[in-house]
Structures are given as C-alpha cells and as structure tokens.
Amino acid sequence: MIASVLPTISPGTLLAGGVTATAASLWLLLPRGQSGAAERTSRWLGTLLGLAALACFVATGHRLGGLGEEAVFLIVSLVAVISGAATVVTRSPVYSAIWFAMALAGVAGVLLVLGAQFLGVATIVVYAGAILVMFLFVLMLAAPAGLAPYDRVSNEPLLSAVAGAVLLGILSLSIGRLTAEPPLCCRMPSKTAAIAGNAAADPVPAASEAGVDLLIENHVARLGGELFGRHLLAVEVAGVLLLVALIGSIAIVSRAASADGTVAPARRAVP
C-alpha cells in the first residue's frame, strides 16, 4: 500500500518530510533527562519516525535528479549573499572577518554546483585557510579594544549604498537581457555555420552540450593540462609575481621599521 501511495507525492515534499522526520526522530531518541513511561513513549515514537524518514529517503532517492542541483544552489547562494551582506554591515571588524569566512564557504558551494570542483576546494584552502587567517592576525595585532569610532560611522553611507544598489540594478538588467532574443540587426550566424557556409545550419548550439565538458570525471587533470599547456607562460609570471610580493612585503616592513626608530635599525653590512 505504501509503495503505491509514496510515488504520487512529489519528491520535494518527500525530501522535506524525510529531513523533518529525521530531525524529530533524533531529537526524540537522544537522552533528555526523562524517565519511565515518558522515555519509553518517546523512544517508540522516535524509532517509528526514523523508519518513516528512511522510507521517505528511499522513495525519494532515484527521483531527485533535477531537483537537487537547483535546491543546493539556492541554499549555498543564500549563505553567500547573506554572509556577504553581514561582512559589509557588521560593526566589529573581527566579526566581519568571520562572516567573510562564511561567505567564502557559500561561494565555494556555488562554485562546486557550477562545476568548478577544483576551484571550490581551492577557495576554501587558499582564502579561508591562508588569506583570512592573515587578516585575522593583523586584526588581532592592530584592532583596539572595543568599538573604535571609525567602525561606528561610515563614510557617506547613503551615497555608497545608492551607488551599489544602482550598480546591482544595472548588472541585473544586463543579465536579464541575456535571456531575451537579440535584435535582428545584431543577430549573427554562429561561427561554425559561417565556416561551413551553410545558412540553413542551426545557429544555436545546445547549451547543455557545451557544459558537459567541464563535468567530466578527470576534471582536475583536464584543468591542470589546460593550465600548464596553453597558459604556461602566465603560470611562470604568476610565480614571479608571488616572489616579488614576498620580497616586497619583507623589504617594506624592514625598511619602515628601521626608519621609524621604534625598532632597532637593521644591521648594515660591514664594508
């Protein structure tokens, strides 16, 4: 009977029900300082709810194909956007940095959903692991106790908020225009059709077909091949840039410290 009823419910409802039932059953099963009949009742209820949740998940399992990606994208993008807003508006700089870490987690999720597996992991490792910790170090070194006055007052808050909102509106408009049909004057035949000289060829290649290439199994190997093949020179330049930044930051620190006089001057080489 259950097998005939369950498929009629939509997979989203089933999934939501399964998640809710899992949470409720775990809560019921965990020890909460009860005893006697109440404990036994909650155990039974929890076991039943857990079984129902399992049934929901099993019934959902193979039908989540289209739903999963959109739902996950919605969740991680909400995390990214809300944490980004909190980064900007939080008064305390330390909390701002922590919110930025949360925004990084959301952005990494967005990158993963969009098919950039290596970049999602690299964002977590490089940004949240290295750059953000450096920010926090400097904050701990330099931030005064309590809220500084410059953290409590913004520089032209109204103007900058309006500027950001207008920029966002313009960007959204231009993104929305991507979905609209291009006007006749600008409609051009695609490159392949032009090369073939065949005007009757379909000018619209399938979008999904193009995206498949990024979702193959050996994703990282392909990305590495692209990076160290076509862009080898750029990789070398990036390495030089890292070296220059390293030397430059050390040089700035040591020279400024010696010129300031607060720190012992750097030892000069004896001629």
């Binding site: 980004g84 940004y127 931030a143 993104i175 991507l178 979905t179 990024l214 700035i252």
Partner: protein
C-alpha cells in the same frame, strides 16, 4: 544563445557579491574591512567567471579564477604590510587618518559628534560563595540506579 538557468543564477550571485563589496569599500572606514570588501568583490568576479566558463564549455574562466586567487594572495600580503605600517604611524586603522593625502580642493572629512557607546558594561558571572563543604555519603556517590 540563451544561457542555462543555472548560469544566469550564478551571474546574479556574482553581481550581488560584487555590489556588496563595492558598497563596503566605499562606505567602511576600517582599512582591514575595506580590504575584506575588496576580496568580496573578487569572489563575485570568480563566480561570474566560472558561470561563463560553464556557459561556453571551456576552461578559460577556471584558469582566470586561479590567477585571481594568486593575485589576491599577493595583494593581501602587500596590502596588509601597508596597513600595519599605517597603524604603526597613526595608531588607528582609520582611512580618514590619511586624509591629508586628498586633493587640495576637496573638503576635509569631519566626524560629527558620535553618541556615547551604547555597549553595556561588562558583566561577569558571580561565583557562588565558598563555604564549608557538606559531608557526603561516599557509598551513595558510588551507587547507581542501574548500569
């Protein structure tokens, strides 16, 4: 050709992150928070690049994001050194502390009077007063109702 819905969503998320970072870098005065907002803008750019890369089905966007990561690391290192130097000279992380570097025809930023800090005074928990330790039945401590 029309981008897939997921690509459009990615572009919108990138635009929102970029705008938020722009607002922060314009409005905030703490130098470190300004740099955090710049990093937020870079994140928005990265999301947009990956979305376009998915749309076109090639690796250019991914490679570009890797270089964005590299340059962001360099930029953070050098910029934080400058911030530390600025802090050592002025004792503040305030960007308005350096407003003598502005153009000569621009007015000076003057802070209006701020209301007093509305943060409540710190409250520490009161420890229970210590006294004579009551006598405890050691057998009752070892007993359990059931195992």
């Amino acid at each position: 050709m029309t981008p897939a819905p997921l690509v459009l969503d990615g572009l919108v998320v990138g635009a929102i992150l970029f705008s938020l970072g722009l607002v922060g870098i314009l409005a905030r005065r703490n130098l470190i928070v300004m740099f955090l907002c710049a990093e937020l803008m870079l994140q928005g750019i990265s999301v947009s690049l990956v979305a376009w890369s998915r749309h076109h089905g090639d690796w250019g966007g991914h490679v570009l994001v890797i270089f964005v990561l590299t340059v962001a690391a360099c930029e953070a290192a050098v910029a934080l050194v400058f911030v530390l130097q600025a802090f050592a000279r002025t004792g503040r992380l305030d960007s308005a502390a350096w407003q003598s570097l502005r153009e000569s025809n621009l007015p000076r930023t003057v802070d209006h009077e701020l209301p007093a800090v509305d943060v409540l005074p710190l409250k520490f928990p009161k420890l229970t007063p210590a006294g004579v330790e009551p006598s405890v039945d050691q057998d009752a401590l070892l007993e359990r109702e059931h195992v």
